[in-house]
Amino acid sequence: MDKRELLARISLALILVVMPVGFFIYQYVLRPAISGVRVIDIRAVAPEAGGFQPDSMQVQAGETVTLRFHAEDVTHGIAIGPGLGIDLGEIDPGHMKEVTLTFDEGGTYTFYCNTWCSPNHWRMRGVIEVRDVSNTIPAAQHDPVIDKLTAEGVDIDDTVHNGGQSNRSQEMDNIQPSAQRGAAVISQLIVPPELKDLDWRRSHFPQEAMALLLVANSNASTSDLVDAVAYLWTENTGSQTLASASSLYSKNCAACHGQTGGADGPMADQTAVKPIAFSDLAYMWLRRDDVLYAKIRRGGMGTDMPNFGTLFTPDETWALVNYLRSLTLTSSNP
């Protein structure tokens, strides 16, 4: 056979056979082998088109894995929780971001989208089941706060059963509390001991605290008492915690509840029940922190409010509650 003909046929075989095979060998054999760790490629598309694929995986505690997220249709934000502090940020369509991590202990973790990507964005989640040294996946722990509320007979879905947004303290409508002013007046007031107890404050609403302060300080002005309550409700929140909670809120809550808590997010009119306006002081004045916490972790039945208990740690959830409080209790005009 002519040498040129032979060369041409070899080239043809290289193009039609060797090249395609080579690409797949490189992608699925060589690249994982070179990386030295197990690589899991995860396709990220809007939930209507399938969501994460795969949407569940199992790893061993102590095993190092690389999770590679490929956004295929729109921009997705990828985070993994609870308690891992992993937020890969936004991934534009056609781009990829990866994270290499080792799970220290067994449990169930969630990877989720935290950039609004579609009407069913909140469904865009996947599960990582981590087997511990005994090769079992530890069962999810009950949340003691939710258990306590259930034992007390408190209706966590008070939006449905207790009048919802219409259950408000109307006399608070024209009042603007300031935790900053409260910090200045608190030393001049007699503060009942229960108000200094964090657990008490979390299980009672600000209106109740104000009533106790009024009894102890009958000559104090209403505005001073309101500011004092604002101070007490926000005194445990550091600025760094508030900043990270603000970021969590922006990414996970603002689409429905609004950037400033006004229930005016772009998806607010798509939910089964109108989202709560956290910037409504009159509403928040009659709400307990532990109920807000439970609602965030468990989700709202029949309201389209998703559960975030599998995404956030209890501490992150409390930080979020504190952030929600700050929307009405900290003023820009001290």
């Binding site: 003909e5 041409a8 043809l12 490629d41 490929h70 369509p93 056609g94 781009h95």
Partner: protein, 458 residues
């Protein structure tokens, strides 16, 4: 005969190169590499079109090079290197480079006489155009289309002798053939008498040096570029060295009156109509048209497709027909109405090409930068072969695009106007009468051009 510059006489090295049996297969193998990559990335790569080699390099890079450079300058030179028919042709010949002895190895079926025209290509292009918003943006769909074209070409290569796919089926070949009439490059015989006296007709039947014309053309009677695929087989087989490559005035083929045909006229309407539709759908500000073309719902798409076909097959030809009828009357009706309609339709060739160039400029400047990223990460799998995977999208020369589009459309209009006059002169020898006769068609051309300018400039 108008002025011609014989390139092969001036560059004997070029003649030797074009006569080499290695040249075309070598180039086709290179293109086949990229074509195979486009199919693979389309089928298996990321669904994000801007990060997929198949979408970026076929519908942005290749398309822009084809319509802005190759076709206007060199006519059907893309067909020389096109990889789509190559595997089928090599299968027929049982060889890639060498000239294998004996007949082509096919089932020797006969292509139906009724389909020995451009109609299949016209409807094929319209069909693809109906799905263009989907094909151009979904890598998987694009991959399947490219694969289907290649498998179709191979299948036809098994059934029929020669390049039946290229000549009668390829939706791209149809318009390349039409617009190649404008190109300043042509392959022609040096002396027709030599061909008339040469009874063996090696260029048609082939000999030891090469195959008979795969494009089913008799080079001795070639007067237009439309159906010559520049494979240069005739250059290899002609024992008289009577074939050459010329440089010639732009648009010379438009005035070759005796080969004008209705299928080619409709090709001109379809290309112009699709340029209009693509500009509105893909570059326009009307989101609802985009959504309908993008198959948001089946009923919407059906309305869009019906509109597209009606525009191309009824509205444009209908309106043009009215103008052509008036022009025909003004020339004293020295030809039939049908002949006049067909003749004047060729004025849409320069305007149509200008419209496609203007349309392509609109997106190639904006999206060309995607090419850098996909070179390094063709599948969108997170590779970085050449370090350019993270090159950002960078629109280039945004403030120049409108200017360029205006310039191109104006040039196209002027050429079309000149062509209209010259066609009118072919129907009447009287200059004044020809000028008046051309006016209705010129008005149509002007209104169309203004329409395009309004689409691009607002």
């Amino acid at each position: 005969m108008t002025a011609r510059l014989d390139l092969l006489e001036r560059a004997p090295g070029l003649r030797r190169t074009l006569k080499s049996r290695l040249l075309q297969p070598a180039l086709q193998l290179v293109m086949l590499f990229f074509f195979t990559l486009a199919i693979l990335t389309g089928l298996f790569g990321t669904a994000a079109g801007s990060r997929n080699f198949g979408i970026v390099f076929v519908w942005i890079v290749w398309w822009a090079l084809l319509i802005i450079v190759l076709v206007p300058v060199a006519g059907r030179l893309w067909c020389t290197v096109c990889p789509i028919p190559a595997p089928g042709e090599w299968l027929q010949r049982r060889g890639i480079v060498r000239r294998t002895p004996g007949k082509l190895r096919t089932l020797h079926k006969r292509w139906p006489k009724q389909l020995k025209n451009m109609w299949l290509q016209n409807f094929g292009f319209l069909l693809m155009a109906s799905f263009s918003a989907v094909i151009l943006t979904r890598p998987q769909v694009s991959g399947w289309v490219l694969l289907a074209l290649m498998l179709g070409a191979v299948a036809l290569g098994v059934l029929y002798d020669n390049r039946v796919f290229c000549r009668y089926v390829c939706p791209v070949g149809g318009f390349i053939g039409l617009y190649s009439m404008l190109a300043p490059l042509e392959l022609r015989v040096l002396d027709c008498k030599t061909c008339d006296e040469h009874t063996a007709k090696d260029c048609v039947v082939g000999n030891k040096q090469g195959y008979g014309c795969p494009w089913l053309v008799y080079p001795g009677k070639l007067t237009r570029n439309t159906y010559c695929g520049l494979c240069f087989e005739c250059l290899k087989t002609c024992p008289k060295d009577n074939i050459t490559l010329n440089l010639r005035p732009v648009g010379a083929d438009l005035l070759v009156a005796k080969e004008r045909r209705l299928d080619e006229a409709y090709k001109a309407f379809i290309m112009l109509g699709c340029a209009l539709a693509y500009s509105a759908v893909l570059l326009g500000p009307w989101g609802w048209i985009k959504s309908w073309a993008n198959l948001d719902t089946l009923p919407h798409w059906l309305i869009y497709a019906a509109g597209l076909w009606t525009l191309n097959l009824v509205i444009l030809p209908g309106l043009f027909g009215l103008a052509a009828m008036v022009s025909h009357r003004l020339t004293g009706e020295q030809t039939s109405r049908r002949e006049a309609f067909i003749a004047y339709a060729y004025t849409l060739v320069p305007l149509g090409l200008a419209a496609w160039i203007a349309f392509s400029l609109g997106f190639v400047f904006t999206n060309g930068s995607y090419a850098l990223a996909v070179i390094s990460d063709p599948f969108g799998w997170g590779w970085n072969l050449f370090g350019t995977a993270n090159s950002p999208w960078t629109p280039l020369g945004s403030n120049l695009v409108g200017l360029l589009q205006t310039g191109v459309l104006t040039a196209g209009l002027l050429f079309a106007v000149q062509t209209a006059y010259r066609i009118a002169r072919q129907q009447t020898l009287n200059h004044d009468q020809a000028f008046r006769a051309a006016l209705p068609v010129i008005s149509f051309l002007t209104v169309l051009t203004l329409g395009f300018l309004w689409l691009y400039l607002g």
